[in-house]
Structures are given as C-alpha cells and as structure tokens.
C-alpha cells in the first residue's frame, strides 16, 4: 500500500516519471527527425564546401608533391643548414623530374606566391637541368645566381610542407624574411590590409546612410494609418523584390557621365557639358548603389519595432512640458534602439561581403574585399590566397552573425 502511494505508475506498471521522460524523448526525436534531411543537405552542399575552402587556405601541395628529393633533404636537415652539394643535387633531380612530368609550372607558381619573380627561375633552370653536370652547386649558380639566395631556400623550406599559414600572412600583408621571421611586406606591395580597411569604412558609411534614409520613412510608415502605410510599403518592398542586377543596371543608367543625372544637371545649367561629374566606376557609385539596394533591410526591422510603439508616451512627455525634440530624443528614440541595432547589424553584415554591385559599378577604387577574392579565383589563380582572404572575411562575418543572434535573435529575422 505504501509503495503505491510513493510511486505513481501508468496502467502497464511503469513509473509515471519514467513514462513521461520516455514520451518527451520520443517527442524530441520526432521533432529532430523532421529537421534531419535538411540538416544533412545543408551539411553536404554548404558546410563541407566551406570546410574545403578553409582547408585550401592552409594546404597547398604544389611544391611538396612534385619535388620529392629536395623535400626529403629539408626533412633531414634542420632549419638554418647551409644548402650543400647534396641539396643542390636533390634540387637538380627534382627540376628534371618536374620538367618531365610538366609540373614545373605549378611548382614555380607556388614559390612565386611567396617570392614574387621566381617562377621564371624555375622554368628556365628546369629547361637546362638535363644538361647540368656535377658539381651541381656551381652548375646551378652558373645558370642563375639567384639559386644562392638564402630567401629562396627559406621559401622552398616553407613550401616543402603542404600545410602552411603563409597564405594568411600574405592576406594580412605579412611575409617571412630569410630567417623565417614574420615581417611586413614592402610598402608598394601592401594591398590587402588597405582593402580590408576600405571594406570596413565603406560598409560603415553605407550602414550610416541607410540609417539616415531609413529612419524617417520607417517612422512615417509606422505612424500612418495602416491603409496608407501598406500602400507606401510597396515603395520599400518593390526594390526588395527586384533583381539585384536590374537595380545595379538602373544605377549605371542614372549615374554614368552620359546618363540621366548628368544630363539633367547639364540641362538645368548647374554644370557645363564638359564638366560632367564622374559618379560611377568609383567609390561614389558603390556607395550610392549599395545604399539603395540595402535600404529595405534597414527599413523593415525599424518598421516592425516602431509599429507597436504606443504614441501616448510621447504625448505624456509633451504634456509634462517637454519640447517635441526632447520628447523624440528622450522618449521615442530609446524605444527604437532594438530596431536600429537589428537593421544596422543586418545591413553591415550584408555590405561587408558584397560582390556583384562593387564589381559592376565600383571601378578600381570602389572594389571591396570580395572582389579581390574573385580576382584571385578567376584571374591570378592563386586559390590558396583567395581561400585565406575568404576565411578571414568569413571569420568577421560569423562574429557579426553571432552578435546578431545574441542581440536580435535569428527568429526575429523578417522578410517583408
């Protein structure tokens, strides 16, 4: 009798607690199983590719796979060893091998990434390698005295391991000197840090502009009666639904020197026909077009925060003697902060990684970091450097994304 009162049981005799736990476990599994197909899909088509990108940024086997003898010599001799006759013999053997396998091009390119100008050294020496006779040290130095350069040996030692952080160093305008220390690159070769800075600055400018333009109209939309605001909302939603390329094309049409805005200014007599302003293919083009494209992402979160704000708070402030400016600043503005945060973070995240618009309207000064990643993927074919730049950008975006989730919550992401 005392047993039955101590533990409640179900009809089939299981303790109620255990039965409840089992039921909850089943419910959790049921919910989880619904998500599993999509999770697996995203894992394969998104997470794995990103993983491969990250691997590519630290892994480049172009040298280590194709130059086995010299790689073995590097493995046997500690860093700092002066390259001896044995090393040069290994090098010549590898040059012959690479020439035979037609891999000398990729080997040279790999070294060229770390020591610009050395690709031709490899191809030229490989062509002559067949005829070289011992002693190889003198013979190779005869071909080109650059083979005695300690810097070159340092770079080859670095490349003899397929795993390297050198691409990250390059992406941050750093390199290694002959002793392997990390030093900044020559002033005239510094590109990437400047570009990261420019990306950040332009993104901040664009975010600020979307805020300045977005706040008044979000406020207007939020305070108008619904039947008007729904109508005006079309002005915000139509750009949102219009193709990105269409909007970029429109800005080319408007801003180019023979375009609508310049024509209008000439007709009005504000500028002369020979004084047409260059509004596109520079930073102005990038900033204007991107502000237009990202504006809806600022207006929509602001609107959804402003709509439920009770107007009686501002009225109360006014009745207590506040001027309209004070009432706005002390009462209304603080209530919109969550919307400002959500909109600004979202716009900033999207702006930092923008590619299409800067590529089409940015010219050379309006390019962002994404455009440089595309350049290294498609033109210079330095894929590892592209991957390292992409990884750095990804890191930054993920931190912002995490921040967004903490402050706003992904659940509150709204579309239209």
């Amino acid at each position: 009798m005392s047993d039955a009162t101590a533990t409640l049981t179900t009809v089939d005799g299981k303790p109620l607690k255990a039965a409840l736990a089992a039921a909850e476990r089943r419910a959790r599994w049921r919910a989880f199983l619904l998500v599993v197909p999509l999770l697996a899909f995203v894992l394969i088509t998104f997470i794995v590719p990103i993983g491969q990108l990250l691997k590519r940024s630290v892994y480049n086997p172009a040298f280590s796979d194709n130059m086995p003898n010299i790689v073995a010599w590097f493995a046997e001799n500690p860093p700092g060893t002066e390259p001896d006759e044995e090393a040069f013999a290994a090098l010549v053997a590898d040059l012959r091998l690479a020439r035979e396998n037609k891999t000398i091009g990729i080997v040279g390119t790999r070294i060229n990434y770390d020591l610009p100008g050395s690709r031709s050294l490899f191809t030229k020496s490989a062509r002559k390698a067949k005829r070289l006779e011992p002693p190889y040290r003198e013979a190779l130095l005869e071909v080109d005295e650059d083979w005695g350069d300690p810097m070159l040996w340092q770079v080859m030692r670095g490349a003899s391991s397929a795993y390297t952080i050198n691409f990250y160093l390059a992406a941050l305008d750093r390199t290694r000197d002959a002793e392997g220390r990390i030093v900044p690159v020559d002033e005239n070769r510094r590109v990437y840090v400047t570009l990261f800075e420019r990306t950040l600055i332009l993104s901040v400018v664009i975010t600020a502009l979307t805020f300045v333009l977005g706040f008044p109209i979000a406020h207007l939309l939020a305070t108008l009666p619904l039947r008007y605001s729904n109508l005006l909302m079309i002005f915000v939603l139509l750009p949102f639904w219009t193709s990105l390329l269409v909007r970029t094309t429109s800005w080319i049409v408007l801003l180019q020197s023979q375009g609508v805005i310049n024509d209008l200014l000439v007709t009005l007599g504000i500028i002369g026909d020979d004084g047409r302003i260059q509004l596109i293919y520079n930073q102005i083009g990038t900033v204007v077009a991107m502000t237009h494209i990202l504006l809806p992402f600022m207006v929509l979160p602001l609107y959804s925060v402003m709509r439920p704000i009770d107007p009686s708070y501002v009225r109360a402030a006014r009745s207590l003697g506040a001027t309209s400016w004070t009432a706005f600043r002390r009462i209304y503005l603080p209530q919109t902060v969550p919307g400002i945060g959500a909109g600004a973070l979202l716009v900033f995240i999207l702006a930092v990684g923008y590619y299409i618009t800067p590529a089409l309207v940015g010219g050379s000064t309006g390019q962002l970091i994404s455009n440089l990643i595309a350049f290294h993927m498609q033109k210079s074919l330095n894929w590892s450097l592209a991957a390292a730049l992409a990884a750095l950008l990804l890191g930054g975006v993920l931190i912002l994304y995490w921040l967004y989730d903490k402050l706003v919550g992904i659940d509150n992401l709204k579309l239209g």
Binding site: Q52, P216, L237, P239, L244, V253
Partner: protein, 303 residues
C-alpha cells in the same frame, strides 16, 4: 501622424519639411527602378532620354531592343517571321535559352528547398526541438555568409566531386541559398499556430498523415508558397555561383545580364530589366495577397 491643432509655426514647418524629405527618400527608392521602363523603348542606343523622347515624339520610341532579345544569337534572324523563324528563336536565341535555363534551375531548386525547408520548419517550430537555436543558426547561415565565399567553397567542392558544370550542381547550390527564406517564412506562419486544431483532428480519429494534409497543410500553405516564391527569386537572381561553377552553355538570365553589363552594354539590357521588374511586381502582389490570406486564416488582425 496628423499635426495637432496646437502645433507651433516651427512645428508646422518641420512637419511639412519632414513629409518632403520622406517623399524624396521614397523617390530615391522607386525612381531608379521605374526610370528604366521608358528608357527601354528608346529608339537610339543611348541610356538617357533623347529630345524626341522628351517631346513624346512617337519616332523617338521603338521596341527594337525587345526585338533584339529574340534575334540575338539566332542563326538566321533576317528570315521571314514564320514558324521556322520562331523555332530558330526557341532553339538558338541567347536570351530565350538563358530564360529556359533559369526556369529549369529555378523550378527544381525551389522544389527541393521548399520540400526540405517546410519539413524542417515543422520540426523547428515544435517546443521540444533540441538544439533549436544552433540548428536554426546553421540553416539560416547560407543567407548571411557572403555569396563569394559560398561560391568559392562550392568551386573547390564541385571540382572535387565532379559536380562542376552540371545542372545538378547549380540546382543543389541554389536550393541551399533558398532554404533560409523558406525556413523564415514557414516558421513565421507556424508562430501562433493553434495546436488544439491538430489535437481535435486526432481526437476525432484522424491519423497523423490525415491530420497533416487536412488540417496543418492548408493553414501553413500561404507561408509555404511565399517561401517558395522567395526561393525561386533567389535562384532566378543568382549570378555568382553560376559564374563560378557553371559551364559556358549553362547561361542563366542574370549571367547573361552580367555579361551584357560588363561587355557590350546596350539598351537590350534595359528591356530585360523591364520584363524582370514586371515579374517582380507580380511576385510582390502574390506574396502580399498570400500574407493577408494567411493572417485572415489564423484569425490575426488584418494588416
């Protein structure tokens, strides 16, 4: 937003200035999109209004750029316009082929994203879902991660698996990019979903499958369709992944536009853009009607 009777003159001035400022911002938003529509009927190959256009002279306007959309890439564009000419258009015109590719890729990517996304949203909106926040963050991330990074990763992945230059590859990638939109719209519809309806169905003897198709499905349908439209637009507008992983003959409309803008920019681009603007107006209207229907179905206030 009405001005109170007791407003001071300064406040009145500010009020009207504010309205003018808002008007200008709305103009900034909409004018660039609308301005290309008249320009696409330009008779001259310029990107600005000619004097004839401003005088509304009919000879200043023409549909030659729309005609070019059909004839560009044809084998024999000057032949008489009979059935064989139209067959030539259907098979060879560059823009028509791009449109066909875009529609095929968009259709399958949308199907995949909507089916998987809706299923997942059903799981994610259950309160007992474990690791809900983390999983949600992972599933939304394709929208947040810069497209160039996704495209670069896919380039490495596809050259490794042999999916490069295949329709399957592009469809899978576009489905991934569309999934966040499906998740967001469907979970939004499921917020405030009245679970007593499904319990009522169960108590009346319906099995879970019947309950899903007879009760849940009709209620979340507006959200599913909006999500599908978002996914379709995402695929229909996507150019970077196509640039990185597609073969040359797998041109889509945005890819073709990209070429047009970078190489030989002509008002033909504007005629495509005009058609796309009309498509987006139709889509926006559909989504808006669906949203209102969904709110009516769920008994929320209209608006």
């Amino acid at each position: 937003m009405a001005l109170p009777k007791h407003a001071s003159p300064l406040e009145r001035i500010w009020h009207y200035t504010y309205l003018v400022i808002c008007g200008l911002i709305f103009l900034f938003l909409i004018a660039p999109i609308l301005i290309i529509i008249p320009l696409s009927f330009n008779a001259e190959p310029y990107f600005t209004f000619t004097e004839k256009m401003l005088r509304f002279d009919p000879t200043g306007y023409s549909t030659r750029w729309y005609d070019l959309l059909l004839t560009f890439g044809m084998i024999n564009p000057d032949a008489p316009r009979d059935a064989s000419w139209w067959r030539d258009v259907w098979e060879n015109a560059a823009w028509v082929r791009a449109a066909k590719n875009s529609l095929i890729i968009g259709f399958f990517a949308t199907l995949l994203a909507t089916a998987l996304g809706t299923l997942a949203a059903l799981g994610l909106s259950r309160p007992e879902m474990p690791f809900r926040r983390l999983i949600m963050a992972v599933l939304i991330s394709p929208m947040i991660v810069p497209i160039i990074i996704t495209a670069t990763g896919l380039f490495f992945f596809y050259s490794w698996t042999g999916l490069a230059n295949t329709y399957t590859g592009i469809i899978l990638a576009h489905a991934t990019l569309g999934i966040p939109f499906v998740i967001i719209t469907v979970t939004a519809t499921l917020v405030g979903f009245d679970h007593s309806l499904t319990r009522a169905a169960a108590s009346l003897g319906a099995n879970p499958t019947t309950t899903f198709f007879k009760i849940t499905m009709p209620l979340i349908m507006p959200g599913v369709i909006s999500g599908a439209l978002f996914a379709f637009v995402t695929s229909f507008d996507e150019v970077v992944v196509v640039l990185f992983v597609a073969a040359y003959d797998q041109q889509t409309i945005p890819r073709q536009m990209w070429n047009g803008i970078r190489e030989q920019i002509s008002p033909a681009i504007l005629s495509v853009a005009t058609i796309l603007v009309i498509v987006s107006i139709l889509l926006l209207t559909t989504v808006e009607l669906l949203r209102r229907r969904s709110e009516r179905l769920r008994g929320l206030s209209p608006g």
